[in-house]
Amino acid sequence: MIQYIVRRLFSLIPLFVGITLISFFVIHLAPGKPSSLQTDLNPKVSLEVRERLAKVYGLDKPLIVQYKNWFLRLVRFDFGRSFLDDRLVWDKIKERIPITLGINLLSLLLILIVGIPLGVNAALKSGSFFDKATTVFVFFGFAMPTFWLALLLMNLFGINLQILPISGIKSIDFEFMNLAQKIADLGRHLILPVFVSAVGGLAGISRYMRQGMLEVKLSEFVLAARARGLPERVIIYNHALRNALIPIITILGLSLPGLFGGSVIFETIFAIPGLGRLFFEAVMSRDYPLIMGELVLGSILTLLGNLIADIANAYVDPRIRYSR
């Protein structure tokens, strides 16, 4: 097992280098130099200042050297300073990670505890009313634009019924609450964002779960388990589900970039101070160091997510552990 994990870790290195290369390439797509954004808007900036800025960012050196320097700073988590307020990019990112990670984990949890039983039951009762209802839900979930769903729910629960807050993650009097009230307050603020960010994934997982279960249901080892007279519950949950779960883990790993991307949308709508909103603000103000930092970090988190998915897969399925 450890050998497998180490091998997977090493295979991530070229991916990481590739990610940084593309990010670097993207930033150099910009017409003109990154430093000109700071100076173009300000006609008072003299040529000297421009040259000094170019030197600070190493823009007077060849691209390869620039990339090398940037990469070496990157592995030490040195993303430079934000154009906007001159704070370290890493500090700005660091304080926002818990919020975004927390919401995404909650939404993953919701996806799993609702999506898996939904798909399994739909497959077991395939053709039934429940199965058809699930299929309709899946289509709706896929077609629902996150931001529209968010607006509709804000309108219903926040404005018409007035039972849920529609922006931020805590109330103004948060500081004066006791622990139980604080948790309740956070929960009330998080219900809508978590639900909204989970809907797409929920549809996807229940659909794949249903497909996987339908295939496994007819396989020979399930027949063998049934022939041995095992109770139906054991057959389904210990034998069939375990096998049907393998592709689900991989799909979950692959859906991580989507979750992170989605956080830009729902964090902007619900005014949640997380990585997504930070990224949106960085894009709006063209804060290049921050954009680069978040782009690389988002990709690293995705890589880690894939790694965890692979390890989970190897844990569930010994065949993966021992293959090449």
């Binding site: 993207v26 991580l256 894009v283 990709s299």
Partner: protein, 273 residues
Amino acid sequence: MKIFRNIYNNKLVFFGSIIILLLVFIAIFAPWLSRYDPSDIDLNNILAGPSFKNILGTDSLGRDLLSRIMFGAKVSLKVGFIAVGISTIIGIFIGSIAGFFGRWLDSLLMRFVDLMLCFPTFFLILSVIAILEPSITNIMIIIGLTSWMGIARIVRSQVLSLKEREFIQAAKVIGASNARIIIRHLLPNALGPIIVSAVLGMAYAILVESSLSFLGLGVQPPTPSWGNILIEAKATLGIAWWLTLFPGLAIFITILGFDILGEGLRNWFKNYE
């Protein structure tokens, strides 16, 4: 015919195509179908609810919502078609080369595909837009350049499974060039899955475009797009429900249409084999 026997799947294809055809019709004939110009401002009639005069109501500048949604259809479909065109061409090109030539070229290209799949695509798209100005052309190109990986994988696996078959060997024996084998013999046999993922790709592209426009980083006003109409919906939440409901419904129905069509076609091609 055998194809028409599977009623359920045909129902999907049927309803999906109806929705899409209707949409294409509206997009093409929007200037003749709509009663108002989508950018005609009428300050005496702002935020009016649905009525006989303005069937879906008006926005905060008194512009007719129905007309704006109809013209928005054009933008969405255009972005979808061109973005998917770009991603399909790239995907076919990379996938068939990787599958056909195999060896180091295959592993190199597939590592590149893995790499692209690792990027949080929406972050990447936003970064590029931050650098190049947000415009319809840029959006189409960027969505196309960041969504070809699925098609590349599908084409590659199809090519891999087909290239050892007898008819390909026969083509090689009579001296057909590699390009000819790929274009004339391999790709036509992979057409089904390519069409399915192109149709589903339309849904994806339209969703991304509307999300970008909603964030203000997509189609720029005054050009109406479903996403940028919804910007105003957020500002008038609780005041003008029609501004929230109808543009969102348009996006929802469109994506649903492409999803249904894609799903139906997938089953259709599966049965056809």
